[in-house]
Amino acid sequence: MPPPRFPIPQGTLDMLILQILSLEPAHGYGIAQRLEQISRSVVQVNQGSLYPALHRLEQKGWLRSSWKESETGRDAKFYSLTPGGRKQLAVEKDSWARLAGAVRLIFEEGDGV
């Protein structure tokens, strides 16, 4: 029995996708695998919501895509980060850090009582 996994928090999927693609361009299946690995099967990503998210990010101009030959020899749709996407990632990381810091502060204060 695998350890119980909790669903990914609302709104963080976009950030994770941007983070993965900031390392190297990848196709949808590759991103799904990377998500699994990175989160060490702790975070549960609904694969069905991956594709709408990819298309939404592309629409916003943060990703661009092209059909290229993949590692299996078949053509796959590869996504990569645009400069705008890179900026967005920085913004999201920053606000995430601030949020996490704030939450931790609140918890520590609570523990101190």
Partner: protein, 900 residues
């Protein structure tokens, strides 16, 4: 924007998404099989992980197109289906919108062509009309905004403001391209004309500044493209050919670019003549270089970045010094102090003129705006009608809408669907309207004089017009769909599912408001129609002051055929004698200037009768033969007609005697004996009063039917003038008379063309063109509006009667009479009419200002007209409401109660 782009390439997107998802599935399946899962199980698991392919596709599509656009497309499909399911309902809606949109588009096309459209020239927005405000101390001829040719040359030197200045004058010539000569419209232009406008030749060359350096030195012309195609069949060797203008040979040097038709909408020239040849194009004209002869319009093309205001201010120093210099020039007339002041106070104004200069625009723009306003009203009315129909259908769809609400559709979603409905219907209406509009345009153009309309106005559709029709369609779709969309699903779910087709109170009230609006609009249009009909009838009843039956008119201009004034005058008199002697002629007279063409010879006068007075406005003048008054049946009221005593020895050109009309006597000689008074031309202190008034004639129209002006007549037969208009009272038909008149003229000179042969009835019709157009169209609009609003009223009343069947049944069972039942229903209709009337009345007052100048013998707020229109509308409305009322009253109470 992006969504629409996505929508257009949706097939590519779908394709790509399918491939992308397929790749994912295949990889997942092979990975799972690698870990020992059997293939069937691996496929199942891979699909499950994705959460259903259809759902993923749907969600991605939402990203591409947004929900809104996708729903709209679905709505349109639904509308399309319901469109076909209720064809008669659809037909009524589409037809009413098509009428409104078609009429608006047709009128707009004329507004666009006559008023709005810029000339097909380089940077039309930089073209300005240069005009002299004040007294030019000059004589002249032509239409408006006239100046002299030398001023145009001066302005060409002001090149810090302009990169080109042109001057032009319209003229009519006798043109021969080989065969017999015919009258033709030409434009006399400066050599800078084509370069200023940036018009290139289609063949050969256009005119250049060298062509108007020396008077009479450059006998060349440039043909208009259409004329080249029609007259020379587009012959490529036309350059170098000779043509005859007023019998002077001229060489064709080129053909202008195809799209260019001159700078005057309404007078399309067949060719362009350089100003240096103006004495050939206008026989006897020698004043091209005279600074005191105003006959040309001047247009300038501003330099980049120069505004009209800047150029106007910058030109004043030069202009003031020119005024100064001119006043010291030899030949500058001696003028009084007052006039001198007016001369020196003159300024030069620059007005943007991207549409060029047009007399037609001046005459038609007001009637056209009035008509556009009328069609806009008609379109509003049609929209209200359609909105009413949609509301009525809302009743039938209440259950459908209720069901959809129950299934979880939002109200906004349903409202959007109804809006999509309305827009699709109005686009269909617009399409039909656009298809019909060329016919409407053709019939509109038919109201205008043929010579103008045929050459200058088109009844074809272009991109601008299509865009206009599209925008109008979408706006009217939104307007007619808004009310139904807003009310949709407002009632609670339960009532709408349970109730079987009771029209809800809110929707009913809304329909009443709409019908009231329709009544107000149609009352406005009816009043307008009646005002214009009364104006036309009033003008026709007033008449020109002479009998027009069997009266025909035609003009001759011998000077264009190379006659000297003396020879031409002799020829004219010989023709006049022959016509008088011929069998078909009852009486015949001649005038120097034609009647009822809008123009006149006019001047201020000085009158010496006991004391010396000057006229406070221009007197309209004409020179006539003694037979003129008897031929037209204008009675001589006092004194005598012209006769042999008034003839002068040849060479003496001064008038000795004059006749004046009644209005002249009333205004300037009231209470005195006009016979024996002395008059003279001009109003200055040095004006001589050496002309004796010998007779007074009854009033008759000169310029047009509206005007009642002071007129003075001078004897025609003593002067050496080779042109004029004949008025012949004929015994036969006008067609038969034309044959004998042509025979007489051809015997005198076979190459002399007869100009504008018409019956006087026809001439009056021409002079009333805008009145006739306004009357006929506003009557048609008024009738349509009445019909539409009556249909609306009838619909509402029928609904209300059906709604109240039970109530009426109870009332009748309790003893109400048929009459009181009818009154119960009619009362509602009367309230709507009364409220509509109350809305319309202030609008009449307000819109009245727009039409006031187009009216004659009646004011915009004329009591009788408003009363008549109200009466007509009210009785028609009662008629329409009476049918359902009668049906209600004649229903059997038992049946009424049993219903439902």
């Amino acid at each position: 924007m992006r969504q629409i782009w996505n929508w257009l390439r949706r097939h590519d997107l779908e394709d790509s998404l399918d491939r992308e998802l397929q790749y994912h599935l295949d990889r997942r399946v092979s990975d799972l099989m690698g870990t020992g899962v059997p293939e069937a199980e691996a496929r199942r698991q891979a699909r499950l992980e994705l959460g259903g392919l259809t759902l993923v596709r749907e969600e991605v599509r939402d990203v591409w197109f947004t929900r809104w656009l996708r729903d709209f497309a679905a709505d349109f499909r639904l509308t399309g289906r319901s469109f076909l399911r209720g064809p008669s309902f659809s037909a009524v809606i589409v037809l009413s919108l098509a009428l409104g949109i078609g009429a608006t588009t047709a009128i707009y096309s004329l507004v666009d062509q006559v008023i709005l459209r810029a000339l097909p020239i380089r940077q039309p927005e930089r073209l300005v009309l240069i005009d002299w405000q004040g007294d030019q101390v000059a004589s002249g001829f032509g239409t408006w905004n006239l100046m002299s040719y030398p001023i145009c040359r001066d302005l060409q030197l002001q090149d810090q403001f302009f990169d080109g200045v042109l001057c032009r004058a319209a003229a009519n010539v006798n043109l021969s391209t080989g065969g017999e000569s015919r009258p033709a419209a030409v434009e006399i232009v400066s050599g800078t004309y084509f370069s200023t406008l940036g018009i290139r030749p289609a063949l050969g060359r256009v005119l250049s500044p060298e062509d108007d350096q020396t008077p009479e030195a450059s006998p060349v012309v440039v043909l208009a493209y259409d004329f080249w195609k029609a007259q020379f069949s587009g012959a490529p060797d036309v350059v170098g050919r000779k043509i005859l203008i007023n019998r002077h040979p001229m060489t064709v040097v080129g053909v202008a670019a195809r799209a260019f038709h001159g700078v005057d909408v309404g007078q399309t020239p067949v060719l362009w003549v350089p100003a240096s040849m103006s004495s050939q194009a206008i026989p006897g004209f020698q004043d091209m270089l005279d600074r005191r002869t105003r006959w040309m319009q001047i247009l300038g093309h501003l330099r980049e970045g120069i505004t009209p205001e800047k150029a106007q201010a910058g030109l004043q120093p030069w202009f003031k010094s020119m005024l100064e210099e001119d006043s010291r020039r030899a030949g500058f007339p001696r003028i009084g102090a007052a006039r001198r002041r007016r001369y020196f106070e003159s300024t030069l104004t620059l007005k943007p003129a991207p549409q060029g200069h047009s007399a037609l625009r001046r005459a038609l723009s007001e009637p056209l705006w009035v008509l556009l306003a009328a069609t806009a009203l008609l379109l509003c009315l049609a929209c209200l009608n359609v909105a009413g129909l949609f509301l009525a259908r809302g009743l039938a769809r209440e259950r459908e809408i209720g069901t959809r609400l129950a299934l979880g559709a939002s109200r906004g979603r349903i409202a959007r669907q109804l809006l999509a409905d309305a827009i699709l219907y109005s686009l269909a209406g617009g399409l039909l309207g656009v298809a019909l509009s060329p016919f409407a345009m053709r019939s509109l153009i038919a109201f205008l004089p043929q010579d103008v309309a045929a050459t200058s106005l088109q009844s074809t559709l272009d991109a601008r017009l299509l865009l206009f029709a599209f925008v109008v369609s979408v706006v009217s779709g939104l307007a007619s769909g808004l009310a139904p969309a807003l009310t949709a699903g407002r009632e609670s779910l339960v009532t709408s599912l349970r109730a079987r087709g009771t029209l809800t109170f809110g929707a009913m009230r809304l329909r009443k408001v709409m019908v009231t609006g329709q009544i107000a609009f149609s009352l406005l249009l009816l009043i307008g129609a009646m005002l214009f009909a009364r104006t036309l009838a009033g003008l026709l009843a007033k008449g020109p002051g002479f009998a027009t039956t069997s009266l025909v008119a035609f003009s001759l201009d011998t000077s264009r055929n190379g006659y000297s004034p003396a020879d031409g005058s002799r020829l004219m008199h010989r023709i006049q004698d022959e016509i008088t002697a011929s069998a078909m002629c009852q009486a015949s007279g001649m005038t120097r200037f034609p009647l009822l063409t809008g123009g006149s010879w006019n001047n201020g006068m000085t009158i010496q009768a006991g004391q010396r007075i000057t006229t406070d406005r221009e007197v309209n003048m004409n020179a006539v033969t003694p037979e003129f008054f008897s031929a037209l049946g204008i009675p001589v009221l006092a004194g005598r007609n012209f006769d042999q005593r008034d003839s002068r020895p040849s060479g003496d050109d001064s008038y000795r005697t004059a006749m004046v009309n009644e209005t002249f006597v009333k205004r300037y000689l009231a209470g005195q004996n006009p016979i024996g008074a002395h008059v003279g031309f001009g109003t200055g202190p040095d004006a001589k009063t050496s002309i004796e008034v010998v007779g007074v004639v009854a009033d008759s129209s000169y310029r047009d039917l509206r005007e009642e002006s002071e007129q003075a007549f001078f004897p025609y037969f003593q002067t050496n003038v080779g042109s004029g208009t004949f008025y012949v009272k004929v015994r036969s038909t006008p067609e038969a008379a034309f044959q004998s008149i042509r025979a007489i003229v051809q015997r005198a000179d076979p190459s002399l063309p007869i100009l504008s042969y018409r019956t006087m009835t026809e001439q009056i019709g021409r002079s009333l063109k805008s009145e006739r157009m306004l009357a006929a169209l506003s009557e048609a609009f008024g009738a349509l509006a009445l019909l539409l609003s009556l249909v609306g009223l009838y619909g509402v009343m029928s609904f209300m009667v059906t709604e109240r069947t039970r109530e009426i049944g109870i009332r009748m069972a309790l003893g109400a009479t048929g009459a009181s039942t009818v009154w119960l229903v009619l009362r509602d209709a009367l309230v709507m009419v009364a409220v509509g009337w109350a809305i319309a009345l202030p609008c009449v007052h307000w819109l009245g200002r727009l039409v006031e100048s187009q009216l004659f013998g009646v004011t915009a707020t004329d009591f009788t007209t408003i009363a008549q229109a109200t009466l007509l509308l009210a009785s028609a409305a009662i008629g329409a409401a009476f049918i359902p009322a009668y049906r209600a009253a004649s229903a059997n109470p038992i049946d009424a109660l049993r219903l439902d």
